[in-house]
């Protein structure tokens, strides 16, 4: 298989991602690592909890990977893993690795995948604030018209 997508409740593995993206015909790999930061919209954040609808999420991540292969380079090797559960500041929430014969397709595909994931993957985050409050953040609507 040319792509691997998963939702993980254990720490994400960057080495595994790069290893999957590797192929003897590939001249490069592009790596995106998303992390939890300590602030959002002026509020100090202690951590983030992630929820995901696993089976649908995998289907949609697979769709996105196939789109990237069709759009940018048919020899891409794509790895996408998203965390589910609670992370502290600096924790890794998402890892994307894209191996390609040439760098241009690798950069473009990696950017495409993270942007589409943010808009289409059924994943949600709840921020935990320093004042003890927490809040589910709202983002992109999924409903088809």
């Amino acid at each position: 298989m040319q792509f691997l997508t998963k939702i993980s409740q254990t720490a994400l593995n960057i080495e595994e991602a790069l290893e999957f993206a590797q192929a003897s015909s590939n001249g490069c790999a592009n790596l995106f690592v998303g992390k939890v930061r300590n602030n959002n919209l002026g509020r100090e954040v202690l951590g983030v909890s992630y929820d995901a609808f696993d089976p649908l999420c995998i289907n949609i991540l697979n769709e996105i990977a196939i789109e990237a292969i069709k759009e940018f380079e048919h020899r891409l090797r794509i790895y996408v893993s998203h965390f589910k559960g609670k992370l502290e500041i600096g924790g890794i929430s998402v890892v994307i690795a894209v191996g390609s014969p040439h760098r241009d397709a690798s950069f473009l595909a990696c950017r495409y995948i993270i942007e589409e994931l943010k808009k289409r993957a059924p994943i949600w985050k709840k921020e935990h604030y320093i004042d003890g409050d927490d809040e589910w953040l709202l983002g992109h609507e999924l409903e088809k018209q």
């Binding site: 992630y50 709202l138 409903e143």
Partner: protein, 90 residues
């Protein structure tokens, strides 16, 4: 005579607070639309309305394990469906 279907609702994200409630089964006429389902869901959860619930349901999608449903699509059989608030992974 109207045939009914039973839809069990799965909750995610901002709806997670409802997971602790008894599993919610909505009884609806066969071939109800996704819009009908949302209206029925709002009525069923209205006792928990904090003033934001209706807007949250309107902005949410309905899906099964495989796909997101169109707003005008009809539901012909009983089963489990998920309500998905706006997403923000990454």
């Amino acid at each position: 005579m109207t045939n009914n279907i039973n839809i069990e609702i799965e909750y995610f994200g901002a709806f997670s607070k409802f997971k602790d409630e008894t599993p919610l089964i909505l009884k609806m006429p066969v071939n109800s639309t996704i819009q009908d389902l949302k209206t029925t869901l709002f009525k069923a959860l209205s006792e928990f309305d904090d003033g934001k619930l209706e807007g949250l349901i309107i902005s949410s999608a309905i899906a099964d394990d495989y796909r997101i449903y169109n707003k005008d699509e009809t539901i012909s059989k009983s089963g489990k469906l998920a309500i998905l608030p706006p997403v923000n992974g990454g």
